[in-house]
Symmetry: C2
Subunit: 365 residues, 2 copies
C-alpha cells in the first residue's frame, strides 16, 4: 500500500518524511536532539496544510548551510534579561532550533512572573509561527510568535519592497473545545497561494500584487518581474496601510528590539540571493510571548468563557448554510488529523527535489 | 477673531472645547481630577483628527450616564495581579478614566519587572486607543492598547455581527525622529468614514460593508439596514479572515482574559440600544501593555535603529513622487500641530448637539 502511494500519488506517511528529514539534518551535522527538534518543527507545516513552509523548503535550508549562512553548531545564548523579558542570540543557527529555545524561555519567565517576552537576533527562518505559539498551550498559557523575513511587500504608496510577509501567531487555550490558533502573514495573500496560480498559469485576484512601477496587476508572476506583494487590505481604499502597520510592528518587535536586521536589510531565504549590504543588525529576528492564564483570572473561568466564545462564533448565522464561520485553527487541525492518518501528498517537483537531496546525502526517501 | 471663527466656521480653540467638556463632566458629578483626565483623553481624538471619537461623542457619554450605564464615582480596583500582570475592575466608570488608571499600572509593572500587562473588565468606551499606548513613550517604553466594542462587524462567512471595530494601538519611541504610533480599527473602514459618505449621499467602495443577507454592497447606509462592517481584508479572496482573526484576538485579550463581555454581548455605545441579554461578563473590556525598551537592549541603540527604520521607510521609492510613504502616527501629529495652533473645526450638527447639551447643563460653548 505504501509502495502504491509512493509511486502513484507521491504520498508519504508522516513517519517516512520525518525519518528522511531527520537523517538529512544529521548529515548536515546537527546533533540527534537538534535534528529531531528541527524536523518536528519543519514538518509541522506539512501536517497543518501549510505546504509552502514545510519539507518543500528542506533543500533551501541545506543550501543556506552549504553557503555558510546557517551555523549547524550554534551556541544559542541569552544576552540580556529581566524577570519578564529576554534577548536571545541565535548564533546563526537554524530558526527551527533557535525558536523553540526562545519560546521555552518565554514560558519559563511566564511561570515565574506571569508573562515572558523574548526577542531574538541572529537567527534564520523558523518555518511556521503557529508551531511555537502552540508550545504555550499545554502550560495553560496564551502563546504569541512572530518573525520578520526578507522584503517582498511594498508599504502603501511605495514601489519598493520593504517588509517581509511577517507572520503573527496567537494560540489561546480553551476548555472542552480545541484551542483558538491564529497564524497568518500580514499580507493579502501568502506567497504560497501565488505559486499555486503560477503552476496553473492563472491570474491572481485584484489586490494581491502590484507591478514594478506600483501599478495594480493580476499577474501571478509579478513578484519575479520586480513587483511586490501587497499588505493585508490590498489598496488604500481598503486600508492597506493597516496591513503595512501590522507588518511594521512585527518587524520592529522582531528586528529592532532584538538587534537583528529589519526592513529591507533582512537576509533572504534563497541562498542564491545576495545578503543586503550595510546590514544594521544580526540575522533574522523573531519575537515570542507567553501569558499565564491564571496570571489574569482562574484558568477554569477563562476556559469556560473561551468555550462559549468558540461555540457562539461557530454558530453565528452563516451567509450560506453550507459554510459555517470558521474558528481560527480549525482547518489546520483538520489537515493534521487527516494527514497523520492518511499520509502527506507532495507535489511532483518537491518529490524530485527531495530525491536529488537524498542522493547527495545517501539518504533514501 | 475667535468670535468670527465661532460664527462663520464652527471653529473653536482647543482651550475652549476643553473648558466646555471639563465643565460638562463636572456637572455630571466627576471630581475635578477625573473631569480633567476624561476631557484630555476624549479631546485627544479631536486633536489627532479622529473626529468621530472626540467631542462629537460627548452627548453620547452623557446619555450613558443618564441611563445609569456609567458610574460617575467608580471605585476602580485591581482584582488580581502578578509581578507582570493585573486585572482591573473599572466599576462601570468612564473608560476615559479607567483606561489611564490601567495603563499606569502596566507602566508601573514594566518598571519593576520589564513588562506590564493589564486586562480590564467592567469599563466603558475609552475614546482612541492611541492616547493610552502613547502614555508609555515618556517612560522609554513601547505602549500597547486595545479594546473590544459592541458588535458591528461580520466575521468571514457570517451574516451576523459578532465583533466590534476592536482597535489596536502600538506606540514605539524613537530617537531624533517622532515616535511610531499605529492606531487602527481591525475593520476595512472605520464607521466614521462611512458617516462622511452618508452625509455626501455617496456610495462606499467595494469591500467596506455587506448587506443584511451577507451580499456585497456599496450602500453607505447598509449598517442602518441590518448589514455589517467587514473585517480588514474585505472579502475571502483578499483574506478578510485575517482581519476577523485580529478582531477576535483583541476581543479575547480585552473581554475573555478580564472577565468582561465579549463578542455579541459587548454593551453598545448608544444608550437607546438595549444591553444584550444573558451577558457572560461585566461591561466592556480593554487590554494594555508596556514594555521597557532597556528590558531588551540599550535604549540608545534601540532609538538609533528606530530612527534608521523610520528614515529608510520614509524614503522608500514612492509610486508617485508627490506622495511619500507615511510613517504611522505622522498624519495624526500633523493634525495635532495644526489644530493646537489654529483651532478645531466642528460639523454644524456637532455644534448644535453641544449647544443643546450646554443649555441643559447651563454651560456656555
Amino acid at each position: 500500500m505504501v509502495y502504491y502511494l509512493r509511486c502513484m500519488e507521491n504520498k508519504y506517511t508522516y513517519q517516512q518524511l520525518k525519518a528522511f528529514t531527520r537523517e538529512i539534518f544529521c548529515k548536515m551535522g546537527c546533533n540527534e536532539k537538534d535534528a529531531e527538534t528541527a524536523t518536528v518543527n519543519l514538518l509541522s507545516a506539512d501536517l497543518r496544510g501549510v505546504d509552502s513552509h514545510g519539507i518543500a523548503r528542506l533543500s533551501g535550508y541545506v543550501r543556506l548551510w552549504e553557503t555558510q549562512r546557517v551555523n549547524i553548531h550554534p551556541e544559542i545564548s541569552i544576552i540580556h534579561e529581566t524577570p519578564s523579558t529576554g534577548v536571545v542570540d541565535g548564533d546563526s543557527g537554524l530558526g527551527l532550533i533557535v525558536a523553540p529555545f526562545s519560546m521555552d524561555l518565554a514560558i519559563k519567565k511566564a511561570k515565574e512572573v506571569g508573562t515572558g517576552w523574548v526577542s531574538v537576533q541572529n537567527s534564520n527562518h523558523f518555518g511556521i509561527a503557529g508551531q511555537y505559539a502552540m508550545m504555550a498551550l499545554s502550560h495553560e498559557m496564551i502563546g504569541i510568535a512572530m518573525t520578520n523575513a526578507s522584503a517582498l511587500v511594498a508599504p502603501t504608496f511605495s514601489k519598493e519592497k520593504m517588509l517581509g510577509t511577517n507572520p503573527i501567531s496567537v494560540a489561546i487555550p480553551a476548555g472542552t473545545e480545541p484551542p483558538f490558533v491564529a497564524d497568518f502573514a500580514t499580507t493579502t495573500a501568502a506567497n504560497g497561494k501565488l505559486e499555486i496560480l503560477q503552476r496553473k498559469n492563472q491570474p491572481v485576484p485584484d489586490g494581491w500584487v502590484q507591478g514594478k512601477e506600483g501599478q495594480s496587476s493580476n499577474d501571478a508572476f509579478e513578484l519575479k518581474k520586480g513587483g511586490a506583494l501587497l499588505p493585508l487590505g490590498s489598496d488604500r481604499d481598503r486600508s492597506s496601510h493597516k496591513g503595512y502597520m501590522m507588518g511594521s510592528i512585527v518587524d520592529i518587535f522582531s528586528g529592532v528590539l532584538s538587534g537583528a536586521n529589519f526592513g529591507p536589510w533582512v537576509p533572504p531565504f534563497p541562498a542564491y540571493i545576495p545578503i543586503p549590504e550595510n546590514q544594521p543588525g544580526k540575522g533574522i529576528g523573531h519575537f515570542f510571548g507567553a501569558m499565564r492564564i491564571d496570571a489574569f483570572r482562574s484558568a477554569n473561568d477563562f476556559k469556560n468563557n473561551m468555550d462559549q466564545w468558540i461555540q457562539r462564533f461557530r454558530n453565528a448565522e452563516p451567509i450560506d448554510s453550507k459554510q459555517k464561520v470558521i474558528i481560527p485553527g480549525e482547518p489546520e487541525r483538520q489537515f493534521e488529523l487527516e494527514r497523520k492518518n492518511n499520509g502527506i501528498k507532495l507535489l511532483e517537483e518537491v518529490v524530485n527535489d527531495l530525491k536529488s537531496l537524498g542522493e547527495k546525502f545517501s539518504v533514501k526517501l
